[in-house]
Each structure stands twice: as structure tokens, then as C-alpha cells.
Symmetry: C2
Subunit: 351 residues, 2 copies
């Protein structure tokens, strides 16, 4: 799927469909200050007036946070970016792209990291909302985003990137993980490999599951059986990846050792490169995600490259569409990946 | 200089020395709601009362932002981190370390990037303060931090990292740029080099200036002249670095080409590695900053390593000292660097 054309917009309004204090005042037939008192629980309002204002608030679905927004003229817009891991170089170009789009729209970008934890993601997202970000770009860690529904209803636009939202409908910008992984394995098969291993991230992560699915599809498409020992999913920390990779390369048990590997992301690839560098025999490697200096290694690493900057830019652009009032149904944009043969993926099977 | 011992603390108070609305109410002899009306410019306060409250505000140095802070019980503390470049992998472990310390203190971390621009740094810092961060860790891009004085006076603790604050006194955690660069160049001299080039960052950046100073000190210490064409300072973008490096390696003009290079940071090193890989002759290289996969390149790269995670951790620890009320004079912590010989720095001069 490629990027779809711009749909028609229902109407243009800054910050989406949020009712303002002015709307409440107009509907209740009172002044802005009166609404402010009611909203802030200040004294000095007759019960009758208070009831009229409350009715208007309920009817319009007005939310308290808006009061400060309306009162504070000339406030700089800001958007939040929730990353999954501050230390992963993959997100660096993505973050920078989101920042550039934000800057083009005169908005500040504030980031936070969920440290790959769903609870922390929620805490951080709600904290950013409380600090009045106008919108969010989220690389989700959690498996249930219904906690965002009240915020989205109140007008905080949210776009998911790299992985889709879980259990809610929201804009998302993704890469073609399934097809990219499938093509990477097909490339190894085309170079003669029959015993191919897959070292991936935790299986509940959307991208890891899609890449596993792609691996399986390529093997099945070539009529090749997959031994269970050829699949190792788990955290990307070097110790785990190293242990699983060494085990897969040693073989033992009924299955013969693999002659080629597909690695599920840049963090895993960087560890596996080290394991392979110490091996006496040559094992072919295709890594999902490009990474810095991949072409200067020995051998240079064949990769399935995403475009993290483009992911970030598209996500931020979708976000500002929403902030400008676009109210069409949530969209999913899927960007293609690109196989870059550099050497490691073209090594033939070693007898 | 190494990390100094803990000094005595004057007194412990959450959020430093900020007066609260309760303090103002007590001093003026009025209720909290009355102070709130005066602070928010709401009607319903007699001129006499208003004057008493304003006098109390002035006498105590009360700042408006505090009202929400006092009223909102149980609010999660948050600290801001202002980076200089979201895409530089050097800052990834630093950011993660700050985040971990913040989490240990039950605080959220929100980041922003100045994109290497002093005006943007200021805009972002003030925006974070307006969003009620309790403290800031700043990698400064600007050359004048006096804009922070009102915020620091109001109790927003600020610690600078990687580079010191400019024109104000504040806690700072730095690496030994001067000594590290000097030792790197001394290492090249010890391996026989006499014509050594330095490719560094923009000269107004503190770390770049210190590393240049270290380069000069090592050359002078060995009685070696420095030709002007052997120093190339400027932005770290690959095109500039490549052009300057190629020029320095080609020689031409009165000076002979260099036989070794010191590169000023990881961004520059990564570009120079590519330039050297294409050269027919071998040129020795010592890079300031370690970087991922440096040991897997051909030749493996000799570096002067900092410890970005430790820089981040120390800065965050200093920040929470201040937030806990430590009121001693600003401290400067300087962490040592470490020369890691891996191959590229031990290549002898090629005739």
C-alpha cells in the first residue's frame, strides 16, 4: 500500500473539533469571565447562572484544559513525541524529521521515552497531555491504547508510527515489515540457502510479529521446512541475542545448523555481526534496518532498509492535518522497504 | 579534576527556595482564594486587599507559576533535558542515563532539541519552564545563558552537561576535552608522526575549542610546528568534513600532507573513516569519542572515549541534589577520558 491521496476536509478549525470557552459563553448567554469562574470553581456566580453554564458545558462537550488555551493569546503550539527507546539510533532520524515538520508549523517538539514499557508509555502520554501538547506522535510500547480515547475526543490529535495503535482506531504510519522480511529471506533462498534462521524482537511487538510472518511466508513459498530451533525471539539486549545466535549456529539436536540469518532490527543485527565475525565459517546475513557504517564492515552488510526520516515526516504531516481540522476516518500509511545487497546477504551456503 | 565530595546542605525543601501562595496569603493576612484572584487578575478584591497581597508577593519574590503547583496535590515531578542534536548517537546513552535517574526519583523526563541553535535553545528552555518542569539538564548551544537567571532564581534547578553555561554560574558536568585530545595527539607522536592534522567542530563550541587547545599543546610539547593548513574547523556535516579532510590529505602548497589525523568528535570521525577507506596510502587516525562498531572497522579505530552515560548520570544526580535543596555554590565536575588503542592510531607514518 502506498500513500493515499488527500481526502476532502469537513471544515477547517484550529485544534480540531474542541469547543472553546467562548462557545460555552455564547451558548449560555454569559460573559467569558463568568464561564471562567464556573470552570475554576470560583465564587461570585448565582446558582441559576451556574446551571446555565454547566448545561452549555455538557451540551458542547467542553473540557477544562481549553480555558487556559483560550485565555493565553499567542501561545506556541507544541507537539509531543513518545519514543520507545532513547538509545536506539533508528529513532534519531525519525525524531529529527518530526522536529523539522513541527518547526515548519511553528510548533515546539517535546519528547519522552516509554523505555519499552506500556505503563510508562501511558504515564508519559497523559503527562504530555496535561502539559497541553496539541498533538502526539507515538511509537507505542503498550498493547492497549484505549486510555487515549478521552484525550483524542477532547481534540489531542494522535498519530502512531512504526507500529499501529492497539484496540483503538488512529492514524498510523508504518513500514512494510512483512513484505520486507519476506523479500530478505527470498534473497537468501535465491542465493542457495535452505536452512535460514530468524533472530527477532519480542513477539508481542507488531513489527517483530510481521517480520516473523514474512520469514515464514518466504520459506513456505519456496517449499522449505522451518525447524523450531531456527527462530529465536526475545529482548534485543546483546547477551540474549548472542546466546540465541550462537546456539542456532552451533546446531546440535536433530536440526542442522543454519547457513544464513535474517535479523529482525538494527539492534539485533549489530550484535549478530559481532558473533559472525568470530566464526571460522562464513554465514550469510540480511539485517532488517540499515545502520551507520554497515557498508564499511567486513563483509559489508546486506539490509532491508526502512526510511525512518520519511516515517517521521509522514507521521508529523498527518498530525498537522488533524490539528488543522481534518476529520476523515483514521488512515494507515505504509511505506515500502528496500533491499540493499552489499555482500553479507550474497554469501553462498558453506558446506 | 575529579568528582568532589558532597558539601554540607543548608536546609532541605522540596523544589528549592520558592515561596508559595500559602506564604503570600499568610503574610498578607488573607485567604488562599483571595491571593488566587489577585494573581489571576480576577475581580472581587478590594483595592486595599489587593495592595496588601501585591506587597506580600513582592516581598517574598513569589512567582505566578507556583499557584498551580501548590494547588495541584500529588503532581508528578518532571525534569527537562535539552539536547543539542536529536540525531547524534553520542547523546543516546546520556539521555537514557538522565531518564533512569529521573525515574529513580519518580520524575518524568521530557526532552527537546535546540538543533544546535542558541535562539531555539532559549525558546525551548523557556517553554519547558512554562510547562512546569522542576529542573533542567541542558547541553547548551547558545553563548549567553543569562536568560535563565530569572528561572533559576525562581527555583528551577539547571545543570549543564558536555559544555559549561555561558555567562552565568551553574552546575556543569564535563569531560576532559583538553587532556584527552592532548593525549591522543601525543599517542600519534609517540608512534612517529610529525605532521598531524586536526578536524574539529565549530570553534565557538567549548568542546571543540578545548580539543584544539589539547592538539596544540601536544604538538608544542613535542617541539613540532603546526601548519595552518593542518587545522580544519567547521560544521560536522559530511560534505564539509570530507572536503576539508581531502584537502588536508592532498597537501599542496608549502606544507607537506599530514600522515595522521585527530578528529574532534564521533560525527567527524565517521565521515573521515570513509575518506581514509578510499585512500591508497594508510593514514593514522585517533578519533575523539567512541562509537558503535569502531572496533569492527578495517582498521579498528583508536579513540579517546568519553562516558556519555556517566556524564548524564552525574548531571541528573547533581540536578536532584539541587531539587532537594542543596544551596552550595555551583559545582563543576570533570570526568576523565580514556585512550583506547585499536589499530588506526598505531599505524606508523607512511613515507
Amino acid at each position: 500500500m502506498t500513500d493515499t491521496a488527500q481526502p476532502a476536509r469537513s471544515h477547517r478549525r484550529r485544534y480540531g473539533l474542541r469547543p472553546t470557552m467562548k462557545d460555552v459563553a455564547a451558548r449560555a448567554g454569559v460573559g467569558l469571565k463568568t464561564v471562567s469562574r464556573v470552570v475554576n470553581g470560583e465564587p461570585g456566580v448565582t446558582p441559576d447562572t451556574e446551571r446555565r453554564v454547566q448545561e452549555a458545558i455538557t451540551a458542547l462537550g467542553f473540557r477544562r484544559n481549553d480555558s487556559a488555551r483560550v485565555l493565553r493569546k499567542g501561545r506556541t503550539a507544541s507537539v509531543g513525541l513518545v519514543l520507545e527507546d532513547l538509545a536506539d539510533p533508528f529513532y534519531a532520524p525519525l525524531s529529527r524529521a518530526v522536529e523539522e515538520v513541527a518547526r515548519d508549523h511553528g510548533a515546539l517538539l517535546i519528547n519522552g521515552s516509554s523505555a519499552e514499557d506500556g505503563d510508562r508509555e501511558r504515564e508519559l502520554v497523559l503527562a504530555l497531555c496535561a502539559r497541553r501538547v496539541d498533538g502526539l506522535v507515538v511509537i507505542p510500547a503498550g498493547d492497549d491504547h484505549r486510555y487515549l480515547e478521552p484525550e483524542i475526543a477532547a481534540g489531542i490529535a494522535t498519530v502512531f508510527v512504526d507500529r499501529p495503535a492497539a484496540r483503538i482506531e488512529a492514524d498510523a504510519v508504518l513500514s512494510e515489515s512483512f513484505a520486507g522480511a519476506r523479500d530478505g529471506v527470498a534473497h537468501l533462498i535465491a542465493h542457495g540457502h535452505r536452512r535460514i534462521g530468524f533472530v527477532g524482537d519480542l513477539p508481542h511487538i507488531h513489527t517483530a510479529a510481521e517480520r516473523l510472518r514474512g520469514y515464514r511466508a518466504a520459506m513456505a513459498g519456496a517449499g522449505l521446512p522451518v525447524d523450531g530451533s531456527w527462530i529465536a525471539l526475545g529482548p534485543t539486549d546483546p547477551a540474549r541475542v548472542r546466546a540465541d545466535t550462537e546456539r542456532m549456529l552451533a546446531g546440535g539436536g536433530p536440526a542442522e545448523p543454519v547457513t544464513a540469518l535474517l535479523t529482525g532490527n538494527n539492534r539485533i543485527t549489530v550484535t549478530v555481526v559481532r558473533v559472525l565475525a568470530a566464526l571460522p565459517r562464513r554465514v550469510a546475513l540480511v539485517g532488517f534496518d540499515d545502520f551507520e557504517l554497515a557498508d564499511l564492515l567486513t563483509p559489508p552488510v546486506t539490509v532491508i532498509a526502512q526510511e525512518p526520516a520519511l516515517l517521521g515526516r509522514r507521521a508529523a504531516e498527518l498530525l498537522f492535518r488533524r490539528l488543522d481540522g481534518a476529520a476523515d476516518p483514521p488512515r494507515r500509511v505504509t511505506l515500502p522497504t528496500r533491499l540493499i545487497p552489499r555482500g553479507s546477504g550474497e554469501i553462498p551456503p558453506q558446506p
